[in-house]
Structure formats: C-alpha cells, structure tokens
Amino acid sequence: MAIAKMKKLTLIGLSREKEALIKELMSLGVVQISEQDARLSDESWSNVVRKDDAETASVKWETELERVDNALKLIDRFGDSKKPLISERKAIQTQEFEDALVKEYEIRRDVLKLTRLSRKLAHVLLAENRANIARMSLLPWKEYDIPAEQFATKATRVWQGVVPAGNDSADFLRILADKTQYTDAEVVHTDSEQHYISILFLAEELDAVQAALRDLGFNRIALPMAEGAVGEALAELEQELADIDAQKEDLIGKIRELKDCEPKLKLYHDELVMRRDCAAIRDKFLVTDSTFYLDGWFPRIAEDKLKALLTRYTCHFETADPEQDEQPPVLLLNGKLAEPFEAVTKLYSFPDYWGIDATAFFALPYALFFGMMLSDAAYGLLLMGITYFVKKKFTLEGMMKQLIDMFFFCGVFTLFWGLMFGSFFGDLITVVSSTFFGRTVNFPTLWFNPVEEPMTLLIFSYALGLLHILLAMGLGGYMSIRDGQPLDALFDVGFWYMLIIGLLLFMGAGMVPALPAGAPLFGKWMAIAGTLGIICTAGRHNKGITRITGGFTSLYDITGYLSDVLSYSRLLALGLATGVISSVFNTLGALGGPTLTGVILMIIAFSIGHPYNFAINALGSFVHSCRLQYVEFFGKFYQSGGVGFAPFCENTKYFKIIKEEQ
C-alpha cells in the first residue's frame, strides 16, 4: 500500500566465501548493492581497502555471451521459426536448469560451430557483394570485345570511361577527332545516365588526348578484370555468383540443421548472463587481502530471509534504517487491485522515498475515468477479452503485466459505464433492429443517455473532478501531518478546503433540498473564514512586504482550481466522441436498407469502423486518464524523483528459474 520500507545492509565477509555468497545473494534477489566510489576517495578507507577486480572475470563471460547472442541471432534469422508477438520468460525448475547445463561442453561446441558458420557466411556474403559490384560495373560493357591484355601495347593505349548522358556523344567523337591526330573512339553503350566510351590512341599522343578528354568531361574508369574480354569476365562472374549461391545455401542449410539446439543455447545464454553479473557485481565490492566489504539496500519485508542466508556464512553484517538525508531506492508495494496501476506511476516517475506512493489512491479514479471516456459496453467486453487472452496466452512480467492487468480493470469500468449510458457498439442494436427487422429494439440504458442529457453528465464530471482534486489536496495535507507539520496542513489544505467547500455550499446548496436551510449561510462564512486564513498564512514563507501581499496573490490560485475542475469536462467530451463516432459508422452501415447489399454494407462499416473507433478512443482514454492523474492529481502533492529498486538478481532473458523450496 505504499513505498516499501528499506533497510541498509553493511557486510564484511571472508574472500574465500565471496563467490558462494554472491551466488546466493543473486538467487535471493533482494539486495541492491551500492557503488563504493565515494568511499574510495575517503583516505581512511582507501588506506585499508581497494576496489575488487571485476574486469578480468566479467570480460571473459561477456565475450562468450556475445558469441551465444550471435549464434541465437543466426538461428533466428535462418531457422524459419515464428517470432512470438510478446517475448516471455519460460518458467524452469532449478534442477532442470542445472541438468541441462551438465553437458555444457556440447553446447559450447554448438556455439563454436555456429560462430564458424557465421564467419564463413560473412565471408561468402562479402564475396557475393564484391562480385555483384564487379558485375554491375561490367554489364554496360557487355558488347566490348577488346581483351584486357591489349589495353596497353608498345605504341597504343586503350582507355575506357564515361561522359554524362546529357552530353551529345556524336559531338564528343567529333571534337575528340578534331583535337587529336590518330584516335579512334567508340560509344560502346548508352543508358539513362551515361555514355560508355572506349578510346584507342597512340601512346605518344597521350598529353593531347588527356587535355582534350578533360575538356570534354570524360571520366576514366578502370574495368575490374585482368585479362580477356568483358564477355568472358562476365561469364566468370556469373559462375562465381552461382558458386557463391551454392555455398550460401549450403551454409544456411548447416545453420538450419543446428536450429534444434536453440533452447539449449538460450539456457546457456541465461547461465552466462548470471555468471557475468556475478563477476561484474564485484565492481561494487571493496576488498583487502582476505576480506571483502559491501553495502546496499533491501526491503524490510525480506529481512528475515536475508538474515537466514547471511548467518550461514562467516561474515559480520549490520542492518539499519535509512537516515533522513539518505535516498534509498524505491520499491512500490500495493494490493492486488491497485498493483497494476503502478505502471501509471512508473510511467510518470518513481515517488521520492520520503514522499508518498499514490497508486492506491488513483487506481479507482483512473479506471473510472478511463471507463467514462470509452463508455461502451461492447468495447469494455472487447478490452477485457483481449487482455484476458493475452494474459492466458503469455506469461507476462513487470511493466507489461501491470499494463495488461490495468487495461483489464479499465475494461470492467468501460463495461460499467457502457451499461449506465446504454451504449453497445454505440447504437448498433437500435440501428440494426430498425433497419433489418423493422422494429426498434433498444439496448437498455441504466442511467441516462449522455447525447440527450449532456449537461447532467458535464456536471457529474465536474463533481468527480472536484472529489479527485480534494483527494489530492488531502494527500498533500496528510504528508504535512506525517512529516510533523500539522500547521502546514491546516494553512495549505485546510483553509482551501474551507474556501472551496464553503463556496460550493453557498452557491449550490439551494439546489439540493436535502440540506438544511442554513447551509448556504454556513457555507458563506466558511468560505470567508477560509479566505481570511489563506490571506493571513499563505505568505508565511516570504520575506518583507510579500509576506503580506503573498496571501492575497495566492488567493489568485482559485483560478487554478477552477481550471483544474473544468479540465474534467474531457470525461464528457471523449465519452461523446466514442458514442457519436460509433453511431456515424452504424448510420453509414444502415444506408443500404434491408437488402443483401445493405447487410454487406453493414458488415463492412462494422468491421472497419468499430475496430478503428475502439483503437483510437482507447488510446485517447489512456492518454487523457493519465493526464488527469499527472497534471490535476499529482500536481497537488506528488514528490517525484525516486530511483526504482533494482536488486542484484537473476536478470535472465529467456528463462525464469523457479526455486524448489518456494
């Protein structure tokens, strides 16, 4: 129901037990080990201890891990197995996990094979690329029959090159002939970009030819062949490419043969991750020749387990509550119903450790607002169905699981409001029954139809908003009281409560007959008292004249509260949007009348319109419900800036290791 209480662990142990202890700490996964850099700059520490060497051990595993990663990628690329929509970690028993790794050498051999194949494949692909480039550059010269040996003889030279296609090739030949004595130029090929030209000239005339060609924008190129004519070289390249293709197929085939070892590779991958992490965590250890030191944070609820573990080792440890000036990491602990909404808190920012976790307080409003904005019974069922299916099909963890669970609850409230407002795919039932069956059947409306009575819903939205804001202010007051500042709670929250509630009573009590007759008058004086209180106290932190004026200027905040409440009109507007757009599609579908074409039209309008409307409005409801929490609700009290609790644990990718004893 809040932020988990953290305790600090300080531990000194024997080096010979270090490895074993690290392993057990990882498997327990409740301690976040702190960096020690600050300690090392303190001389009284650095004289005695030094940083542990994590580098040598972790690099070895890191390299191996990279190899396994590449092998897995290779199988993934050629193994033609389908990629799942959502990646999940498979549960596995410790025993099974360890058994699978008994023959580690076999897995290593497969990794080695795959690494070799991958290297060969890279070579082949490189060769293929090179051959393709050569082929592309030779293709325009296909018809050119001067062999490469004759490009330079004793007295003659043959040059090949290109000029832009924009130049007139006839002009080129003429000007070249004019400027030089004995040259023979030939346009071999022309495509949309270039003329490909071959020039035969006397070696002694080189300078003149070069000068003429420069003026003509001739760009000399070297044909990628050593001997023979272009035709022969091309044929050779084709042959080479065919060979390469065969080699590639062969290699891919060999990779496919190895695809069955994928599960084992994944196991090995996870084992390597753990070994690497065990090695890398030593970066945060301080050591002497035979002892080591570490400190870190753990949640108080795990204290017993942690102590049970540590007492089995020859080590000295102390646990302590955090000091006020320390910033322990933040772990959110909430009940089953509120826990999914932690996702919304995390998307904003973790609360400060000394602040408050508001998840439990906004969980209900969040789902309620989401439901009001989507407000369609069918969409609610759809949302529940989709999230339920995803949960059944995949084993989800962390943020993803929380989001899916959260949307399930939101679906429940969408269904609820859909029933209240009588909306099932908008007015689908009414439209279909009156169009195709000739009599009007209405989906029952439990409360009222917001399109017909928008003002009722608008006022209801404002009322909900007001409650939401008052709750937020109340939490702010609670924090002040908890921190031993009850006067702050009275000044900053209590007086505002008096002002706002007083104003409401003063202006609105007349409309509610159930309230006693004196309520407006009472409200008036309450508001006045609240106002005076605010004027007298709001400037108390200021200095000089603003101490007095501050009270008056802070009264101006009333506009802020007003606009905050008005912001909840989106509950009505987005709700209307869902309903009206639904009926747009239903009306479109009904245009064909009670005919076969009409039915087909209806089906088309339904199957395009409603998924679209559902998707865009669910997104809108999510975003705007978040906004109402972040801006209107959190704005009143929330202290963010905490850092999430990231314990040293089995941070595996493919498997989740289940301990037998638990």
């Binding site: 998307l347 904003y348 209307l576 906004r627």
Partner: protein, 167 residues
Amino acid sequence: MDVLTTAAESLLTGNFMALLGAAVAALAGIGSAIGVGIAGEAAAGVTAEDPSKFGQALLLQALPGTQGIYGLLIAFLIMNKVGLIGGSGMLELTLLQGALIFTSALPIGITGTLSAVAQGKTAAAGIMMIGKRPEEIAKGMVYAAMVETYAVLALLASFLMLNGITL
C-alpha cells in the same frame, strides 16, 4: 449585378447555412492531416534509426488525429439534427436557425484545425524524445494531451451550443 443578388438570396437560406456549418466543422480534419503529417515525418526519422520504435512512434503520431474526429462528430450531429441523414429528408430551416447552427460549428472548426497543427508539432517533439528515451513515452503523450485539452473544450462548446439550439 442582379444575377449575383438573386444567387446570394437563393443561397442564403437556413439549410445552406446549416450545411456550411457541418462543412466548417469537418474542416478540422485539415488540421489533423497536417498534425499527423508533421508527427509522421518525425516518426519516420526515428524509426529509420531504430525500427523497433515503430509502435511507440505510431501511438504518438495518432494523437493529433482526434481533432478530425471531433470535427466529423459535430458535422454528423449537425446533419443528424437537420435531418440530412437518418431522418425523413432535410428540414426547412429559417435563416436564423441556419446561422445559429453555423456558429455552433465554429469552435471545433477553427480551434480543432489550429490545435491539431500545434499538437502535431508537440507529438513530433515527443517522438524525437522516444528516439533517445523510449521509456519516457508517457511523458511525450501527456505533453501532446495538454494541447488536445483545448480541442476538447472547443468540441464541448460546439456540442453544447448545437445541443441547445431548438428547431
């Protein structure tokens, strides 16, 4: 001159004004098109760097699209009100009624268009942000939703005005 006067007189009817209102409301779609376009350009840039961000970028890109929907919503309500769809033919409206309906379409028509462009820019900035920090997508969304508030308010104004007009 006479021709123009006659044309103006025959056009300036309640029905014409009402339809003009529906048209103006639906014009909010222009803003959405521009806004989604702006966001889409940014999204393509970010996706080019990292194709796995496609989904996240798409979510943000969709946000400026709602103004067009709000416009369509009001246009539809107007058409429904004057009996153009779903009813038994268009009602005969007085010039005043038509003018009132036209006026009710202005908030969403104008605010919708302009706010969608602004929201498109904000969404594009949000998409740039997830290019660097994909975990902060919710913040990008909330920035965009801040802009949308005013489209929502305009929608509400249009809706309440339209709802209050009795024919």
